[in-house]
Point group: C2
């Protein structure tokens, strides 16, 4: 079963917002056996939207549409869908009551534009949007299903989870899709490909292997779709095991989880605790870790020490170290990590200090120079990296390198 996602709104096309909805939706659809054939972002333009709807239904039977449902004049999805399906409008009383309830709850007077949110094309099924004023609309037309949802991520997410996915499961007999992902680190894509070439060549036609590289990591994903879940799983897992055996030193984990989640799981299993001491990554490592529910079993907290003063007062870095070697140095970053272990009373700590840029570089420490240290009761180890001169990329790559170093160290020390 194929689906397409159409996002409506100039804000994506002028680059004001990143479309995070589509990736989330695609992931959920995949889990229930619906493949996304194409994702299309179009402007707030009636003809363009209609063209996209026509093209999408040639390729797929399920068309999920987000955006363009707000109360203001630039939101034209509803009008466009009514025209496309040749429907008139009716006021949906239940939606009206719901919208009135929301305005009452927030003690705000209700405007005519808000009442109009309850007007819907008269041939669609209205699905209540508990978290907002724009209702979700479900259309069926010549065997195709079109669903229009608001573009606000959390409104869309609730609707998908509570309403749309269950209805799609009921509407179609869906195949099983089985993915198995292996996260590797410290090996390049082409070397990995060379190592597992024989296994790759021996894969049955029904199993697809994809390489998903990302800053210091490559994910290998085996996928198959069919009818019989346990047979699929059995076959895919067999090839996954062959790959894991072949490139074992580089395998972080055989699950589709981010590196920091693999780290948390490993540390939780070994009952180890962690703290962070960040300078140039500015809290990003802490953020990556604390995205994950249950992280508090491992993660105690950390410091973002941008200034010299905080490096001294919070982490106990020596003033002489900072003066003699600078904030971006092996000595400082080791003291930061050791200080975190000591002051935050954790088994491990990771520290990062670098020049994120675009300014602040010197000839011997150019922008992108980043020192990373990992400390445990066995002492601190540090490495220097150079990640180039883009700030966002420096922060991202420093965080991944830090997590990688930490993972490697914890794995080595805890398997002794």
């Amino acid at each position: 079963m194929l689906a397409e996602i159409i996002t409506i709104g100039d804000e994506i096309l002028i680059g004001q917002i990143v479309d995070t909805n589509s990736a989330w939706m695609a992931k959920q659809l995949n889990l229930i056996g619906i493949k996304v054939k194409q994702i299309t972002s179009v402007s707030d333009d009636v003809d363009h939207i209609i063209e996209a709807l026509d093209e999408a239904r040639k390729r797929a039977q399920i068309i999920l549409i987000t955006g363009g449902l707000g109360p203001t004049k630039d939101d034209i999805t509803k009008i466009t869908l009514a025209r496309y399906f040749k429907m008139g409008f009716r006021r949906d009383e239940e939606t009206l009551k719901h919208v009135e309830g929301i305005f009452e709850r927030f003690k705000r007077p209700m405007l005519e534009v808000n009442r109009k949110q309850a007007d819907v094309p008269d041939g669609c099924t209205v699905i209540k949007n508990k978290n907002g004023t724009a209702p979700c609309m479900w259309f069926e037309d010549h065997g195709d299903i079109f669903v229009s949802m608001p573009g606000v991520p959390f409104e869309m997410m609730y609707l998908m989870e509570d309403e749309i996915l269950p209805r799609l499961k009921k509407s179609f007999k869906l195949p099983v899709i089985y993915h198995k992902t292996i996260l590797t680190a410290n090996i390049g894509e082409s070397f990995l490909a060379q190592e597992i070439e024989e296994i790759e060549d021996s894969l049955p036609a029904a199993i697809k292997l994809a390489y998903l590289p990302r800053l210091g990591q490559v994910r290998l994903r085996l996928s198959a779709s069919g009818e019989n879940e346990s047979a699929l799983k059995h076959e895919v897992d067999h090839y996954a095991d062959l790959i894991i055996q072949k490139v074992k030193p580089f395998v972080v984990i055989d699950e589709d989880v981010p590196l920091e989640k693999a780290l948390l799981d490993l540390m939780e299993a070994k009952k180890l605790t962690l703290s962070t001491a960040e300078s140039c990554t500015g809290g990003y490592i802490a953020h990556l870790i604390t995205q994950h529910p249950g992280c508090s079993k491992v993660y105690e907290g950390g410091a973002v020490t941008y200034s010299y003063e905080l490096k001294e007062s919070v982490l106990g870095v020596q003033k002489t170290t900072l003066n003699d070697f600078g904030a971006v140095s092996e000595q400082t970053v080791k003291e930061m990590a050791e200080g975190a272990v000591k002051h935050f009373k954790t088994d491990y700590a990771v520290a990062v200090s670098g020049i994120a840029g675009p300014d602040g570089g010197t000839p011997d420490k150019p922008v992108g120079t980043v020192w990373i240290a990992v400390a445990s009761k066995n002492g601190a180890e540090a490495k220097v990296f150079n990640f180039g001169n883009k700030r966002a990329q420096n922060i991202e790559r420093s965080a991944i390198a830090a997590l990688n170093m930490l993972f490697t160290r914890v794995k080595a020390e805890s398997s002794k």
Copy 2:
């Protein structure tokens, strides 16, 4: 002049990665007067890619393609483009030398698949990719321009900035596009629309107004395109001023910057310093702030205090406060903010403590309960919020609410 962006790769369609490239590219294209008509994500499938190329060139004259250029077997962009333009392959010597140089630098043996990265369709112009092994390829066909770039964000970004954008500027006489964005907070989209209805109705046809809502904020964007930059600017700025005067209490800033950047600019202008004390937001506020170059003029650092112990030892929260009221309470969050001001020696601090979920809720403090405090030398103020039961959304909304509270407080106190 219209462009389309096509991203190639199953990883976007199965939701494994979010397409951040397209938004960035769209923004850059807009700045030089090229409008993006559509963004399309397609799978690693020759026929599907060819269909997307055919559809895109019906609507636009510039087609920018990312992804599918890696050395492994699932990367088929190059083969597809050669077939589409009916070209053979040639080995590009300069690319080969460059790839060999990279492998030498990293002291890695070179494989045949890496050498193949230098094979290109024989009718394209090769553009050197300084940051990777996959070359960028520029095709011209019946007046249309097709550019194929790697999907790795920083490789694509360098290529766009250094090579593609300058070449596009040379290739076309581009119109000027002028945007003016007004960031508002603490007012809903429909109330904003009602407030400025008369101004909106009086806008000339050439000026478009868009409402871009996002968690507690609405951006108003006025756009116009034409030939004469100063005339466009003059007219758009005139209407922007009318809007700003009409909704002044809700205007954060009349620039297209994120809330935290507006805050940093305000605090820098007033020579004020800032620290953070985060529990449930886990470093996300620090990360938002430290994304911005020059933030160190304002931001000294902060603490991520997940555990009770760190709330006490780093921020000086009283043990009795934690025991009597709990970590998620007005008393604790105020002490966190006051502690940050005191221990980190800053003019302002913001503190957040809440139950991000999915676990940890109680009947009187359900998941989503978040206390936020702002402290300065004039004392601490706190507010409670409830953001629902999704962890990622709680973190995001808590951060925005905290920045909003901080901005409002700093603005009020610094204008006295």
